[in-house]
Symmetry: C2
Subunit: 194 residues, 2 copies
DNA sequence: ATTAAGAAAATGAACGTTCATTCATTTTTT
DNA sequence: AAAAAATGAATGAACGTTCATTTTCTTAAT
């Protein structure tokens, strides 16, 4: 354990440092030397774990994205009705984005800039399938609007990224009540009106 | 005219080049030398128009943001009812974001990263007031949900940024029909259900 | 109209700095 | 004592910015 453990520790420290520095300074102002310093590691050591800077950022992205989707679907099973299932997933996602906001902000940054390889972006998108499946079921049952998944995502999930950014910038926190209001807005935007 | 005209041309060319290069390569991979080359200008000339790289990006942001809001409210007057007014503004914004997508993508990038000064960000936000006023009216008349403006923006306006990004990435174009669907989702998310 | 002189604008080579990355050496682990 | 992991000084390329020089424009006297 010891040897491999130590390695994982360093790797994690490097990824954590990358997230923090890129969030606060941007990719352009995040030199490898600073990442090394914050992770308590020598600059050269980074290259034992990552090919180069691009690889470090790509892998950080993939890792964070995986944690995000893992969290989102952790307690999900397909037994509940569409509406309840969606609410469960939505609230898990909200939980993650607003609580683990460092992670979520990093993702938002990567998703809105060309700092990530297209391949890594594709890799990160994979794990969203359960939500797409749920939407397919919802459309079939006439509960969710029969519109493109991109539209459903844009209106029901993505707004959380904006709210997270506002929260980070304005040093203002969404109340429990506001999260409920946000959920209502999300559901209202995609549910099929009878 | 001649002398001052020429200056404006160079300035505009520099701003245009900045947008294009930052969009495609990211801020970190956009050296001043490339900006100069694309604008057909010597590197030194940039410093006649802008203090430094940060100033160039800040001013580009402010300029694009101003164009965006100017376009959004160009044909707006406060005579129509809340719903119609919102629809008009929304469609103008959609028009801008999906047609002038280079501009909109640049804004999205700036809004989701720390590359812009906080001061410039504040400067850019100013011109949104008419929309906030409309929402205030809508809340008062019981037409729009009595929730925070950030929530209204997150659900009714911001999704367009996501759709724009998808459009740019996936080389896929939103159809007229899908824009209508998007508008419905936007309105459904913020209108007060009787 | 032409031109000469002065001012303004533009140039691009040069500068100093910073950065990503390497590798000879040291430290730690097996 | 051999192997693996980590170090950090060294390297060379790239960058933002400067400034001595050149080019272009403006003015006004002829």
């Amino acid at each position: 354990m010891a040897q491999h453990q130590k390695s994982t520790d360093k790797r994690n420290a490097l990824i954590k440092a990358t997230i923090e520095l890129v969030n606060n300074n941007g990719f352009h102002a995040t030199p490898m030397s600073k990442i090394a310093k914050m992770a308590n590691v020598s600059p050269g050591t980074i290259y034992l774990y990552f090919e180069n800077k691009q690889d470090l950022v790509n892998q950080t992205y993939i890792e964070v994205k995986a944690e995000y989707t893992k969290y989102a679907f952790a307690n999900y099973n397909e037994d509940a009705c569409v509406e309840k299932s969606f609410e469960m997933i939505w609230k898990r996602i909200a939980d993650f984005k607003l609580k683990a906001c460092e992670y979520a902000f990093f993702l938002a940054q990567c998703d809105n800039t060309p700092i990530i390889d297209e391949a890594s972006r594709q890799e990160g998108i994979k794990h969203l399938q359960p939500l797409l499946d749920l939407w397919a079921r919802g459309k079939q049952e006439g509960i969710i609007k029969p519109i493109d998944d991109y539209l459903l995502y844009a209106y029901s999930i993505n707004p959380l990224s904006f709210l997270l950014t506002v929260q980070k910038r304005a040093a203002f926190t969404l109340s429990e009540n506001q999260i409920e209001e946000a959920y209502q807005a999300a559901w209202d935007s995609i549910k099929l009106n009878k």
